[in-house]
C-alpha cells in the first residue's frame, strides 16, 4: 500500500510504501537484478545481454504515475492523497563490480547527459513539481543493491530541504541583491582553504558550514538553475570534477567510500526560481577509516548537526587525494 500522509506538526508529506519492505536485499553477485540478462542466466530487470546506461521505473516504487488508492481515508486535519509521481532507477554501467568513481570520465559525462534527459522529461509531467536525482552508495547509507546505480524521484511537491534552501536564497536575493550561492562560491574562492577541486565551470568545496566531516558541495560557477542550463563544456566539466571528487573519496581510506549524492536543481512547478543555483551535495557518513557519523539525538531530534572535525582540515586532507583527469576519447 502506498499513499502520502501530511504531517501537520512539520508541514511536510510522508510517503508510506509498504511494498518496499519486499524489495531485493543484498542479493549474491550472480543474482544482481541490475546486471545484463545473459543467455542461459536468470532474467534480470534489464532484458538484454549488454547496455551502456539504462533508466527504468522502479519496481518497488514509492511514487507512481498511476498511484494506488490510499489505504486510509484522510480528513481536513489528517490529509491523505495518492502517491502520484515517478521513481526511476538509473544504472550507470553494466559492470557489476564498478562504481561511479571507478568509471572513466567519459562514462560520467554520458551519465550527465542521461540525467539531463531525465530531468527534462520528468519535469514536463503535469503532476511533477520537483525532480530529485540522487545516489546512495554503500551499505552504510542503506544500499540494498551494490551494482552502480542512482535514483530519480519526481515528486508532486517541492520537498522540505529544497524549500528551506529556496527560502534562504530568496531572502538573500531580496535583501542583498545577489545570489546566495554565487556569494558562497566567491567567499570559498577568496579564502581557498576549503577548496577540493576546481575547473572552468565548477568548484568543489567542503563548505564553511559542513555538517559531516567530508560533506562536499560542487557549485556551478555560472549562475544557473538546472542541468538543462549547462553548455556542452559545462557537462564535460561536471563529469570531470565528479570523477576527481569521487576518486579522491575512495583514496581517502582506500575503501569504497559510502555517500549520499544529492543533486539540487530548481523546482519544476512553473514558478520563477532565477534566484536559485544548481549544485550537488555529498553527505559521506564516514568520519574516519573505522568510524561512522550517526544522526543521533541532536541531529535527528533537534535538527542541529554537530561536526566533530574542522572543514579546513578535512578539505586539505581530501584535496591531497585529487588527481588530474584524462579523457581517453573525444566525446
Amino acid at each position: 500500500m502506498s499513499e502520502l500522509r501530511f504531517n501537520p506538526l512539520l508541514g511536510e508529506w510522508t510517503a508510506t510504501a509498504t511494498a518496499r519492505q519486499e524489495r531485493t536485499f543484498l542479493p549474491p553477485d550472480n543474482y544482481c537484478p541490475l546486471c545484463p540478462t545473459v543467455p542461459g542466466g536468470f532474467p534480470t530487470e534489464i532484458p538484454e545481454a549488454n547496455y551502456d546506461i539504462v533508466a527504468f521505473e522502479n519496481k518497488f516504487s514509492s511514487l507512481r504515475s498511476v498511484p494506488e488508492t490510499p489505504s486510509i481515508e484522510g480528513n481536513e486535519f489528517y490529509r491523505v492523497k495518492p502517491s502520484r509521481g515517478v521513481c526511476e532507477v538509473v544504472v550507470y554501467t553494466p559492470h557489476h563490480g564498478s562504481s561511479l568513481a571507478d568509471e572513466p570520465v567519459e562514462q560520467i559525462y554520458k551519465l550527465v547527459r542521461v540525467w539531463t534527459d531525465r530531468f527534462r522529461e520528468l519535469e514536463s509531467l503535469d503532476f511533477v513539481e520537483y525532480v530529485f536525482i540522487f545516489e546512495n552508495k554503500g551499505e552504510a547509507v542503506g544500499v540494498t543493491l551494490h551494482h552502480p546505480h542512482g535514483q530519480i524521484y519526481a515528486y508532486p511537491f517541492v520537498p522540505p530541504y529544497i524549500l528551506k534552501e529556496l527560502s534562504q536564497a530568496r531572502d538573500h536575493m531580496e535583501t542583498q541583491g545577489r545570489c546566495l550561492y554565487c556569494d558562497v562560491v566567491e567567499e570559498e574562492t577568496r579564502l581557498s582553504a576549503r577548496i577540493i577541486a576546481e575547473n572552468d565551470s565548477f568548484i568543489a568545496v567542503i563548505p564553511f558550514f559542513a555538517r559531516y566531516p567530508y560533506e562536499t558541495h560542487i557549485y556551478s560557477k555560472r549562475h544557473l538553475q538546472a542541468l538543462t542550463d549547462l553548455f556542452a563544456d559545462g557537462q564535460r566539466d561536471l563529469a570531470e570534477i565528479l570523477k576527481q571528487v569521487l576518486a579522491a573519496f575512495d583514496r581517502l581510506f582506500e575503501v569504497p567510500f559510502p555517500y549520499i549524492m544529492s543533486i539540487h536543481q530548481r523546482p519544476s512547478d512553473g514558478a520563477n526560481y532565477d534566484f536559485y543555483h544548481f549544485h550537488i551535495e555529498f553527505y559521506p557518513p564516514m568520519r574516519s577509516k573505522n568510524k561512522l557519523k550517526y544522526l543521533a539525538g541532536s541531529e535527528a531530534g533537534a535538527g542541529m548537526f554537530i561536526n566533530d572535525t574542522l572543514p579546513e582540515e578535512k578539505a586539505a586532507e581530501l584535496r591531497s587525494h585529487i588527481r588530474p583527469v584524462s579523457w581517453q576519447a573525444t566525446t
Binding site: E45, I46, P47, E48, Y51, D52, I53, V54, A55, F56, E57, K59, K110, V112, R113, V114, T116, D117, F119, R120, L227, T228, D229, L230, F231, A232, D233, Q235, A329, T330, T331
Partner: protein, 51 residues
Amino acid sequence: MEQIEISQGPEMHRRQIELPDGRYLLFFTFDTTEDENEPGTGSEVEIAANT
C-alpha cells in the same frame, strides 16, 4: 515484449521498451561525434513518431 523506438539525437540515442509488468525501460547509447556547445545539448533527444 513490444519494442518501441523513441529517440535519435545527434549524439545520444534513446530506445524505450515496455517491461512485462508495464513499466518502461530506456536504453541510452552514444555516438562519438562532438556535440555543439549549446545549453542542454545532452538532452536534445526527440521523441520519434513511430510509437
